[in-house]
Each structure stands twice: as C-alpha cells, then as structure tokens.
C-alpha cells in the first residue's frame, strides 16, 4: 500500500508538469462540453418558454440548475480511454506501458485526475458565468450535498472501470470509432444529457435504471438538485457499487486475455 502511494504521488507530479505544457489545448477541449451544455439548456429553455415556463416537473430555472450540475458531473467523471486505446494499439505506444512493472491503469487514473484538477481552473469560472447568465434554481437539502461526495466518487470510479474495460476491445478490433460512437449515442439518452430522465417516456426510464449510464451522471445530478429521497440515494449507491464490482470483474478477465492478443500494429 505504501509503495502504491509513493507511485501515485510521483505520477501526479510528473503528469501535472507534462499537462501544464499544453494549457491552450486543454482549454480548447473543454469547449465542446460547454457548447453541448449551452445547446441542451437553450433547447429546453425554449421548450419551457413555449409551454408557459414549465415542462413536466422542470421550470426553466430547474433546467439551468440541472444542466450546470450535469456539466460539472460530466467533467468530473469523463474519460477518454476509449479513443486513446485505438491509438495505443495502432501505433504500438502500448508496448512500453506493458513493460513497466505497474498495471497501466494506475498511470491512467493519475493522468485523468490531474487533468481534471488542472482544468477546474477553467470549469469553475464557467460555472460561475453560467449561474450568472441563466439564473438557476438551486436549493438542495444539506444532507444531499454531503451524500453527493461519495456518490460522485463512486460515479467516477464506475465510469472509469466500465469505459476502461470497454476500451480494451481495441486489443481485438484495433478500429473502434464506430463502436465508441454507439456507446456515446446510447449514453447521451440514458445518462440524462439529452433530457432529464423524468421527461423521457416510461419504458426508456425503466431501461435507464437497468443500464449503467444513469448512475454515472443523472443520479448524482438529481441528488444535488434535491430531487431524491434518502432511500433512493442508498439504492442508487448500491447500484453504483454493483456496477463497479461487475466492471472490475470483467476488466480482470478481459485484461489477461487481451494482453495476450495484443499485437502492436504499428511496430
């Protein structure tokens, strides 16, 4: 345990230094997330306006709060490994990582966290600006804010493991663009990004409860909006832990088989 902590602190330090070199590129990559948020928020605000200010159980102020929190959740939990693995496999960049006496996932965790830590410097002012422009209604109970800390952490971990396990598909197929797009298309609807889940038809909501996407984004967002009861939060956290365990198990199996398949196309 002591050894792993040392490794992580070194990884964090080097990662922060490396990423700090590419400040401009880092900020530009955030713009996609911010524009997406603005688009969905504008769409639903327009819908609310045409319906006299209320859609289902959402007013325009609720939409603003929902999408601003959703943007933050998206930022805190997202990973890019499904894109990166294709590059790693095709260019052979994966080989040196495999030679190290350390599971590559540790390096990825450290990179992911340090990237998010650095980019918070942009995300927080953006959130402030959006709060000022869109006037969100944000009034959750105190317990919900405390409960959000472990829930967001679980959301991050489960999304990380699910997507890392899926990214390993690249070891077999090499090309993953279409598969990745399918994943993100499904996740757009079932994670609550396209619309708050309560505005979707009944059967889609049922499906959303079964799939993992809701527990990555919509669940922490709804919790922070104060729309969940304590019982629902506990049930949600249990579901998150179940998904985390499941993806961990899949990862362990797929990893040992995948590494044997790995052929370093480019080298």
């Amino acid at each position: 345990m002591r050894g792993l902590a040392d490794i992580y602190s070194t990884l964090f330090r080097t990662d922060l230094a490396v990423q700090f070199q590419y400040r401009a590129a880092m900020v530009i990559w955030l713009i996609g997330r911010i524009v997406d948020t603005l688009v969905f928020l504008s769409v639903w605000t327009a819908v609310a306006r045409s319906k006299g200010g209320q859609v289902g159980d959402f007013s325009s102020g609720d939409f603003a709060a929902y999408y601003i929190i959703m943007m933050m959740m998206g930022h805190l939990t997202f990973t890019w490994f499904m894109f990166e693995f294709e590059y790693r496999v095709r260019s052979g960049a994966f080989s040196p990582l495999l030679l190290q006496p350390l599971h590559p996932i540790h390096r990825d965790i450290a990179t992911n966290i340090s990237y998010k830590f650095l980019t918070l410097a942009v995300m927080l002012p953006t959130v402030g600006l959006m709060v000022w422009i869109f006037d969100p209604v944000f009034d959750p109970p105190i317990w919900a804010i405390w409960a959000a800390i472990p829930v967001v952490l679980l959301a991050f971990l489960m999304r990380f493991f699910v997507e890392w396990a899926l990214a390993l598909v690249a070891l077999w197929t090499t090309r993953t663009a279409a598969a990745n797009q399918l994943y993100f298309a499904v996740s757009l609807f079932f994670s609550g990004q396209m619309a708050p889940l309560s505005l979707l038809p009944e059967w889609l909501q049922t499906l959303a409860a079964i799939l993992p996407f809701r527990w990555m984004l919509a669940f922490p967002t709804e919790l922070l909006l104060g729309r969940l009861t304590p019982a629902e939060v506990i049930w949600g956290a249990v579901t998150q832990v179940m998904w985390l365990g499941l993806s961990w198990g899949i990862l362990a199996v797929v990893w040992s088989r995948g590494v044997r398949r790995y052929s370093a196309v480019g080298s």
């Binding site: 401009a24 590129a25 530009i28 990559w29 713009i31 996609g32 524009v35 997406d36 603005l38 688009v39 504008s42 769409v43 605000t45 327009a46 819908v47 045409s50 319906k51 859609v55 289902g56 422009i133 090309r175 663009a177 279409a178 797009q181 399918l182 298309a185 757009l188 609807f189 396209m194 619309a195 505005l199 979707l200 038809p201």
Partner: protein
C-alpha cells in the same frame, strides 16, 4: 475552365485513394446512421413535450437537420480534409512541393484531398430534406428553390473562407489544429435553429463561427421564412468573406 479541370482531376485522385479502403464505407455508414438516429430521437423527445421550438414546426426542424447533414457532409468530404492536409504540410515543410507548382496555390491547397465516404452525409441530408418537404406540403415553388440554392452556396462559401482563414494562420502559429475543435463544437450547435439561443450566443454563431449562415439561413429559404434582407446579407457576407480570405491568403 482550367480550374474546373484541376478540380476534376483532384476529385478523381481522391476517389481512387479512398476506394483502396472500402471497409471505411461501412464504418462511415454506421456512423452516419447513428448520427441520424441520435438527432431524430432527440427531436422526438423534444416534441413529445411541445408543438414548436423557437417558432419552428417539427417538419421544419427535420428540414433544418437535413441541411445540417448536407452541409456537414460537404465540409467533411471537401473542405476539412484539404485544410487539415494543408496545415500538416505547413508544419512538416512539405507545402514547398505545392508552392512550386505552376498553378494558383490557394486552388491547389483547397482541393488537396477528398473523403468520398462523407458524401453519405450529403445523401442522408437530401433524403431528410425531401421527407420534410413532403411533410410540410411542398408549397415551395421555384422562388424558394432558387433562394435555397443561393443561400446554400453562400453558406458553403462562407464556411470555406472561414476555414481557409483559420488554416492560413498556421503560417504563424504552426499548430492550429485545436482551433478546429472549436469549429466542430460550435457547428454541432447548428442542429437547432439559432433563434433558441441567448442573444450573445446567436451573435457568436452568426459572425464568429458562421453556423447560422451555413445551416439556419438556407433552411429558412427552403421553408419560406427568409426575408430578402437576410438573403442579401448572406450573399454580401459570402462575397466579402471570399475576398477577405483571398486577401488574407495573399
């Protein structure tokens, strides 16, 4: 005439290059259909709660989506690959080969590469537009069609000039690919009419990144909501940007 011949030759070379990778056709087909499915499902969710969005009827929004796919197909097939190649050439120094050729360098650079599979998006966009027009009732006459053709050409010219100016900045910045990420992000906002966005965003989408001229204005012409001022504005903007981009290039 000479330029048209050049364009034809480069189109043929590009097509032959791409035909070597036929599996890409299927990948692109899957991706295009996925994009279509996501966009239509999104509209279905929105219109399950309202009858109109920012003053637009469902069928009109389908037409807008059609124009969006049509334009992104054109950009993805013709404009973007050439410009990306051009920027890469600047960075690696291989642009010298282009510059020494006895033709106008801007023309050579602008037709450098073609991705034919992206034309699937164009096909998809045209199909959507056709469906939407039938749904609306096709009261569109010759005037609408002419307005649509004009504004679409103007939109394409504006987007081309915009890309050319951005790509030309690589002469100073060397690495400007990331700026294009901004274009992609803002362009995706064109799936919905600019009328729904807050005023500052509307202005940015009209003048900073010309999404409004590329997608919303042609659709307005198609469904007959276009005022003549906007039509002339789009044409003037297209002319101005073409000249401006040319001047910037020189």
């Amino acid at each position: 005439m000479n330029y048209l011949r050049l364009l034809w030759i480069f189109l043929r070379i590009g097509t032959m290059n791409e035909l070597a990778y036929r599996a890409n056709f299927w990948v692109q087909l899957v991706q295009s259909l996925l994009n279509l499915g996501v966009a239509l499902a999104g509209l279905a969710v929105i219109f399950s709660h309202t009858e109109e969005l920012g003053g637009w009827q469902p069928a009109e929004l389908v037409a807008l989506l059609g124009v969006f796919f049509l334009m992104s197909g054109l950009i993805g097939a013709l404009i973007q690959p050439s410009m990306q190649r051009f920027m890469e050439d600047v960075r690696l120094g291989t642009l010298d080969f282009t510059l020494t050729k006895p033709e106008d360098a801007q023309v050579l650079v602008s037709v450098g590469e073609v991705r034919i599979w992206k034309f699937l998006d164009v096909v998809q966009g045209v199909a959507l537009i056709a469906v939407a027009l039938v749904e609306i009732g096709m009261r569109a006459g010759l005037v609408h069609a002419a307005g649509f053709a004009l504004t679409l050409a103007a939109g394409a010219a504006i987007v081309y000039s915009f890309w050319l100016v951005l790509a030309t900045t690589t002469f100073w910045f060397i690495k400007a690919e990331n700026i294009l990420v901004i274009f992609q992000a803002v362009y995706s906002a064109g799936k919905y009419p600019v009328a729904i966005y807050p005023r500052w965003l509307k202005l940015a989408m009209t003048f900073l990144v010309p999404v409004a001229f590329a997608v919303t204005v042609p659709t307005e012409a198609l469904v007959g909501r276009l005022s003549s001022e906007v039509l002339w504005g789009a044409l003037a903007m297209a002319g101005g940007m073409l000249v401006g981009a040319r001047a910037f290039w020189l």
